[in-house]
């Protein structure tokens, strides 16, 4: 029974390495297969060099290339449905910023993020089911699961805060950005692995570009996370960071379209997810119909002890959660000694502290000096009769 020596095996390995197939995850099995074939021929009395020469001619490189592509296609084909789900989430998200009939924009937005998190969950399940074929898949599954948890929990907190004023201490933002960070990490590891095992020049180039793209997203997500503890130092630059990320994502999306790489589900999910998560934290959303917060009216009936009436009053106020941000606003006359002020709904559940005067300076002064300024518990809409001193 012929058995190849260590040197002969090394010779075969080195020779096969000269071909691009050495990058394939099937390479070790390919080497063993070729060695077994050579040994079988040597058992028939053929010399090593002649046996290997013949096997090399009979076993073309395309054999492993076909197997490599076939396995990869099988491992990736389930992503097609995930990609469609992701595109649907993004369409819903885009619609939520333009359609806001009866406030459904917020609900559409919530739904789009729930679908985004379901996409992450499906990817996690998919990697988990393939954990036997590659060990790294178990870790990728964990990362996708973390992205799912972060995105879902984060968007629920943001929704509760913006629509019901429930204080979440900004954790909604943190969690969604962490979700994006974990998904970027997953994509980076995945595409680097694909890059290392790709065997065709076009595939190597494609995977290198997708790996770079995922790595850039990971870097941007990491910078975004770094702004949380450094918020007071960098708050004036966050707008530019958001602008840069959105611009980068748009550019990448255009390149993916142009280079026909939109079939790469993970890359598409990464870019669309990144755009969704970053956009909801940007100021651009307030410029769109669906991004404007729901407005409520606070009606004050002003009763004056003197006969002095004004056609305009000023309210100086701050919201309970923002004592360091007092503002002074004119109150519109609604007629019949009633005055009205309109304010956005979110974040203002709690107390509104305020003082009123006939001129803006007076309101500010009163507001600053009065030992006990008036307050109203805002369960908007609310009505309050204000007795002007």
């Amino acid at each position: 029974m012929a058995c190849l020596s260590k040197d002969q095996i090394e010779f075969i390995r080195d020779d096969l390495k000269k071909q691009s197939v050495s990058r394939s995850f099937l390479f070790n099995e390919w080497v063993d297969h070729v060695c077994c074939d050579v040994e079988a021929m040597m058992n028939k009395g053929v010399g090593f060099e002649e046996a290997y020469g013949q096997i090399s001619r009979d076993k073309p490189e395309s054999d492993i290339s076909i197997a490599h592509k076939d396995v990869q296609h099988f491992l990736n084909h389930r992503y097609v449905s995930i990609k469609k789900l992701m595109q649907f989430a993004f369409l819903l998200f885009a619609a939520s910023w333009f359609i806001n009939l009866q406030g459904i924009g917020n609900w559409l937005g919530l739904l789009s993020f729930i679908i985004l998190s379901i996409v992450y969950l499906r990817i996690s399940i998919d990697f988990f089911s393939k954990r036997h074929s590659r060990k790294v898949n178990a870790w990728l599954s964990v990362l996708a699961l973390l992205a799912f948890v972060g995105t879902l929990a984060g968007i629920l907190l943001i929704f509760l805060f913006r629509n019901f004023g429930i204080s979440t201490r900004g954790h909604g933002v943190d969690l969604t950005v962490f979700g994006w960070f974990f998904f970027s990490m997953l994509c980076t590891i995945y595409y680097l692995g694909e890059f290392k095992s790709a065997i065709e020049y076009g595939e190597i180039k494609k995977m290198r570009w997708l790996g770079w793209l995922s790595g850039s997203n990971l870097f941007l997500a990491a910078i975004s996370i770094a702004t949380f503890p450094l918020y007071h130092m960098v708050k004036n630059y966050i707008f530019f960071l958001i602008l840069f990320i959105l611009g980068f994502d748009l550019l990448v999306l255009a390149i993916l379209f142009a280079t026909r790489l939109m079939k790469n589900t993970l890359a598409v999910s990464l870019i669309l997810g990144s755009m969704m998560i970053v956009f909801i934290h940007s100021h651009f959303r307030t410029k769109l119909p669906g991004g404007k917060p729901k407005l409520y009216e606070l009606t004050l009936q002003v009763k004056t002890e003197s006969a002095e009436n004004s056609d305009r009053y000023y309210i100086s106020m701050y919201y309970e959660n923002y004592p360091d941000k007092p503002i002074t606003l004119p109150i519109r006359e609604k007629g019949n000694n009633r005055y009205e002020i309109t304010m956005p709904s979110y974040a203002y559940r709690g107390y509104l502290y305020y003082g009123i005067s006939t001129d803006s300076t007076g309101a500010e002064e009163y507001f600053r000096t009065a030992p006990l300024i008036d307050s109203v518990l805002l369960r908007i809409p609310n009505k309050k009769v204000y007795q002007l001193q």
């Binding site: 297969h33 197997a67 396995v71 099988f74």
Partner: protein, 106 residues
């Protein structure tokens, strides 16, 4: 020779059946056993066999273990517990299908 389409469609059952009879096998060994049992009428290429093995592995029906044998890395495949149960059921379906084919054609 048996047409490639027929082999391709039934290769999964052949592999599962072989792995039921032996505790573990490696790729080349599978090709040789099938070649021998079919009297040379089924000759599997690398491109035909390995995707099937990897698909079975991804489905959790087959477990792969890597060992160093004769100074080189060799991957052995064996049935998992799920694979044993599933292959019994799949083989029974397959036998039923063969019987049906026999009734249809003969």
């Amino acid at each position: 020779m048996i047409p490639r389409e027929l082999i391709k469609g039934t290769l999964k059952y052949m592999v599962l059946n072989l792995l039921q009879s032996l505790p573990k096998m490696y790729g080349y060994e599978i090709t040789q056993v099938l070649d021998e049992k079919s009297s040379g009428r089924i000759k599997l290429t690398f491109a035909a066999l390995y995707p099937v093995l990897h698909k079975l592995e991804a489905e959790g029906l087959v477990r792969a273990e890597t060992e160093i044998v004769n100074n080189r890395t060799r991957k052995y495949y064996s049935l998992t517990a799920k694979g044993k149960t599933e292959s019994d059921s799949r083989m029974s379906d397959f036998r039923e299908y063969i019987d049906l084919m026999k009734n249809l054609f003969y």
